[in-house]
């Protein structure tokens, strides 16, 4: 073995699917001097890759996961380590059958081939299944099984052949060297190695490595039980490793598949069994591999009876025995997504963890691109390590959420479903008031936010708001949202926006800093408020947010709570010299007041002139309100007259009370985030980051190109100029649903992420191969319509075009109402500028 080097450009810690794949892709992108280490032996160092079941289901409700899985399947296939066998998800209940229909909807969004199948068709595909207990299923022919260990070996061999990689097994990290917030070295049992970059790609052990450097990779090892039964007489006749589709028995949270002459049974149905990374044994001490814990049969016994019911022919055979069974460790994060990217705590220290075999190769490629080019070709914003707020980095929170999420691995999870564990974490000054007024709290970024107020229930009748007859459509929803919306449009609404992430950029370099990050012109007069896209180098969206210029060298950035920490890192990474950034999220609360009577209410508690002339749209200034000095900013995300009011957290309740008292005679209504996040913005056509806006679409397609591209350089400027010269291949549109009636006569209301198709159900794809789907969906109470936002190719992005939306495998007629920038409600923006 070569002697251990004393320096390298990159040190990759981990030789599982992720570390191997990153090593190859970095080499493939031209990097040299890569050193990979693992404390275990090669080719199976003993992490989760070694016991993975290795199958890839390509369908996923989540776009990012679907793209990662599709790309991974392509890589496995290209290297000849993918066996396509098809995959079924079977339903024993109608509820599950509906969920599978929804999965077919989602598959269509990402171009994954899938279809619903009857029990008879299932029996044809898998002759040894007991189809009598099934009501139907979902079939995806491209599902397959990969050889993740062989793929990893090929990765290393190719990178070694390029002269780029040296791998060292049995090499354990004992310390990390960090200087001035930057990674400097890794100390191992073979010696210390200096490195420009260090990548932590060691799965369930990752938190310990991050901690050595003072960073956080929040994940927890969780047990997934699997057992191998055999020999199966039917399989002994064929020589195939896998000749039948994999079956996921979704209702009982299990999967079964042929594995040579054996039959593998895996379960997510047992209790959540969490471990700590510290308690994983060393390779030496472990009986099997360190991540294969002793099997606990008492947890598996109930599940195997479910499996027996579905596969009596195989598992009921007295000669087919349980040959091998383990409690395999996998990694779960607080939100179920991977942990990728440079740690916010330590420059040059990268994370690539909580990745499954089905995503490994794509993650390797994307992380390598991110490191080499500064940006991955698959948008990883949901996996970005910088997304985590402080509480999400803690062990307790991570375990609480993993404990709660594990049983949902194969669960039917509503898109708006809320976590219940480890709450409340962050409460706003108005929390008690809101609770007393019947707030229904949803959580974002740890904040408890009122989604609607049950005290507003009488408004439902007053405004004649229709309820949703279907339970799924109405779950995590209330007609009160629409009623609050109408009350706001009629008089005024008050909103608690404490979850906003707020950071100030100060110093003589402050302007240069915000100019570089913001697409819009930031060299504006003091007191101006600018809503701006934030772009990637390739001209896709990194964020959209608001920046106030409070003084010559003082800017305040206000952005959504959910994405706030990622935005903070982006600003930090791009800070100009002589500028500093301060996170003030917990210093200020924000109260929004909007509606035709908003000015009357606000004016009644201040001596400052709040008239349109004195306080025009897009400006901000300090305003005395009673005994408080309030930073008032005249903008609106709900499309109505009004202000965002910023006061120190401890004064929030006082301001709220004064506004509430003043608003009583003006018909002020407390409004929840249902109005702010969905109904208010949708009918105004406001795009939201993560829904309409991501790195796959550009400002031209989103209809957000400013009248003039500023001369000052900003990230993405070259790309924007290029994009403006090219013909538009997609346009963001607002569509309205023409008829909600399903085949059974029930009115259905889409929740978003459904395919937009031609009236006959044909998928719509733009010239870049992107499918059209409803990026957002929700009510427009002001117009009485249910609206969808979607990107459409130019030929279809024409007002009046008749299309369809696919929902639970039925098609509903829709019409393009707005093509490109524009609103369904108050298109001239008369209300905002009143």
């Amino acid at each position: 073995m070569a002697s251990f080097p004393s320096s390298a450009k990159v040190v990759i810690i981990g030789a599982g699917i992720v570390g191997n794949s990153i090593a190859y892709h970095l080499a493939n992108l031209g990097w040299k001097d890569i050193v990979q280490i693992d404390k275990g032996p090669l080719p199976n160092p003993g992490g989760s890759t070694g016991h993975a079941s290795n199958f890839l289901y390509l369908a996923d409700h989540n776009k990012e996961m679907a793209e990662l899985t599709l790309e991974s399947a392509h890589q496995y296939e290209d290297w000849g380590v993918y066996t396509m066998c098809g995959g079924l998800e079977v339903a024993r209940s109608q509820e599950r059958l509906n969920e599978l229909r929804r999965k077919v909807d989602s598959s269509k969004n990402w171009g994954v081939e899938s279809r619903m199948v009857t029990p008879a068709e299932i029996k044809e595909l898998v002759p040894f299944i007991n189809a009598d207990i099934l009501v139907g299923g979902f079939y995806s022919p491209e599902v397959g099984v990969c050889d993740s260990l062989q793929f990893g070996t090929l990765c290393r061999e190719k990178a070694e052949a390029m002269g780029a990689l040296q791998s060292f097994a049995m090499t354990e990290v004992t310390a990390m060297g960090v200087e001035d917030g930057r990674i400097k070295s890794v100390t191992t049992t073979r010696g210390t190695i200096e490195a420009e970059y260090v990548i932590i790609a060691c799965g369930v052990w990752a938190p310990l490595l991050a901690e050595m450097a003072g960073a956080y990779i929040p994940l927890t090892p969780v047990v997934h039980q699997m057992a191998d039964y055999g020999p199966v007489p039917l399989f002994e006749k064929s020589s195939k490793a896998i000749g039948y589709p994999i079956v996921r028995d979704m209702d009982v949270l299990m999967y079964e598949r042929q594995d040579g002459i054996g039959f593998e049974v895996g379960s997510y149905a047992h209790r959540s069994i969490l471990h700590d990374p510290e308690t994983i044994p060393s390779n030496e001490k472990a009986a099997l591999s360190p991540t294969e814990f002793p099997f606990t049969p008492e947890d598996f016994d109930p599940q195997i009876e479910d499996a027996l019911e579905l596969f009596p022919e195989i598992l009921g055979d007295e000669k087919v025995g349980q040959k091998y069974a383990i409690n395999g460790l996998i990694a779960l994060t607080p939100d179920g997504m991977p942990v990728l990217g440079e740690t916010p705590e330590v420059k040059g220290l990268w994370a690539a963890a909580a990745v499954w075999v089905k995503e490994g190769p794509a993650v390797g490629k994307a992380v390598a691109e991110w490191m080499v080019h500064g940006e991955p070709s698959i948008d990883l914003n949901q996996s970005d390590i910088s997304r985590f707020h402080a509480h999400q980095k803690t062990r307790q929170h991570t375990k609480a959420r993993a404990f709660e999420a594990f049983p949902k691995t194969y669960g039917i999870v509503h898109p708006a479903e809320q976590y219940v564990s480890d709450r409340p974490l962050r409460i706003t000054p108005m929390n008690r008031w809101q609770a007393e007024h019947g707030a229904e709290f949803f959580e974002v970024a740890g904040w408890e936010r009122a989604q609607w107020y049950t005290c507003n229930a009488p408004l439902v009748e007053k405004f004649g708001v229709k309820t949703r007859p279907n339970e799924w459509d109405a779950r995590w929803w209330s007609p009160i949202i629409n009623a609050e919306h109408l009350a706001m449009r009629e008089a005024a609404g008050i909103f608690d926006l404490s979850a906003f992430a707020i950071f100030d950029i100060l110093g003589t370099g402050a302007l240069a800093s915000v100019q570089r990050v913001a697409m819009r012109q930031m060299d504006v007069a003091v007191g101006k408020v600018v809503y701006t896209p934030v772009l990637s180098e390739t001209g896709g969206f990194k964020s959209d947010l608001t920046i106030m210029r409070l003084a010559k060298h003082h800017f305040r950035v206000v952005t959504g709570g959910a994405h706030g920490m990622a935005d903070l890192k982006w600003f930090k990474d791009n800070l100009a010299p002589m500028a500093s950034i301060v996170d003030l999220t917990s210093a200020y609360t924000t109260i929004g007041v909007w509606g035709p009577r908003a000015r009357d209410i606000v004016q009644s508690i201040t001596r400052v002139d709040m008239s349109h002339k004195a306080f025009p749209f897009g400006t901000c200034r300090d305003v005395e309100m009673g005994s408080q000095v309030v930073l008032a900013s005249r903008i609106s995300y709900v499309g109505d007259l009004g202000w965002e009011l910023y006061v120190p957290m401890e004064q929030g309740q006082r301001l709220w009370d004064e506004l509430w008292a003043a608003g009583e005679k003006h018909g002020l209504t407390a409004c929840g985030m249902g109005v702010y996040g969905t109904t208010g913005r949708l009918e105004k056509g406001y795009r939201a980051y993560g829904a309409e806006l991501d790195n796959d679409y550009n400002t031209a397609e989103a209809g957000m190109v400013p009248p003039k591209i500023k001369d000052a350089d900003f990230i993405g400027r070259d790309a924007v100029l290029r994009q403006m010269e090219q013909p538009l291949v997609a346009t963001c549109c607002i569509l309205t649903v023409d008829d909600h009636t399903s085949a059974s006569g029930e009115k259905r209301y889409m929740l978003g992420r459904q395919p937009i198709t031609m009236p006959d159900g044909t998928p719509i794809e733009d010239a870049k191969g992107r499918r059209s789907y409803a990026n957002s969906a929700g009510a427009s109470p002001s117009t009485g319509k249910h609206v969808l936002m979607a990107y459409l190719p130019p030929a279809l992005a024409v007002v009046g075009t008749k299309l369809a939306v696919e929902y639970f495998q039925e098609h509903y007629p829709v019409t393009v109402a707005v093509a490109g920038a524009g609103a369904l409600f108050d298109p001239e923006n008369l209300l905002i500028r009143a």
Partner: protein, 254 residues
């Protein structure tokens, strides 16, 4: 016919052994537990005997509460019922273990008649005492044949084979008898799913014998220090063949 098989719950040691409890026990924190390999063959043999001759097979263990896992495993393979002599987890020396087993056998036989065969492992995987079967047989006044790899029963006699000098010595003893078996007696089956399900409802009779003073008193355990020597690598892949043959030649084995 009635067959009793005695099993022991032992840690599934594979990697480096580490100690705990003041060096008086193996640290099993990361280890699974299993029936000892010899006893697995004993269980298989008991199941086969009852399959062939009908009757009842009973599994017995002296072990902690968790040993029900191994009793269920044995019953999943076809054993009819179980006797659990529940301990507090501490080790019992050969004398006291044998005495407890003998008491339990006598109690069961008083109610259900004699066992034609009592099968035990030749030595336990963990403590390796080589004596419990002999003591049980002696106390019950029955012939004991140890270290058996072949067993046939006919006409009230057991014919037993023991590996010796490149062949096998044969013993013939009248039933009832006590036999200690070695791995290799048979190839044990894996538990089937129906077997596993049936095992869940099979009875386990627990009792808690008193642990007498230990006469073979463990002072402490010692993990031998193995000098970790790095092997001399003669080469990689088939290209290494000449170097290997050179080495063989130097050893004079060609």
């Amino acid at each position: 016919m009635r067959v009793l098989v005695c099993i022991k719950r032992v840690p599934a040691v594979a990697g480096r052994i580490t100690l705990t409890d003041g060096d008086r026990a193996i640290d099993a924190q990361y280890l699974g537990f299993a029936i000892g390999p010899h006893e697995e063959c004993g269980v298989e043999e008991a199941v086969r005997l009852i399959e062939a001759n009908s009757g009842e097979s009973v599994v017995l263990t002296l072990g902690p509460a968790e040993a029900t896992e191994q009793l269920r495993d044995a019953m999943a393979l076809g054993i009819t019922r179980a006797i659990h002599l529940v301990t507090g987890g501490e080790e019992w020396d050969g004398q006291s273990a044998a005495a407890a087993i003998v008491d339990a056998v006598r109690a069961d036989e008083a109610a259900n008649g004699p066992f034609d065969l009592i099968l035990l492992g030749n030595e336990s995987a963990d403590s390796g005492g080589y004596q419990v079967p002999v003591r049980v047989g002696r106390a019950l006044g029955r012939p004991v044949v140890a270290g058996i790899k072949g067993l046939t029963v006919a006409d009230g006699m057991a014919r037993l084979e023991q590996e010796a000098g490149g062949g096998r010595d044969v013993y013939e003893v009248p039933l009832p008898a006590v036999v200690s078996v070695l791995e290799g007696l048979n190839l044990p089956r894996y538990p089937s799913v129906p077997g596993r399900i049936r095992a869940k409802s099979k009875p386990i009779a627990p009792s808690s014998p008193e642990r007498p003073e230990q006469r073979l008193g463990m002072i402490r355990l010692v993990v031998p220090q193995v000098a970790a020597t790095e092997a001399t690598v003669l080469g990689h892949g088939p290209d290494a063949a000449p170097a290997v043959v050179d080495m063989l030649a130097s050893l004079g084995v060609l």
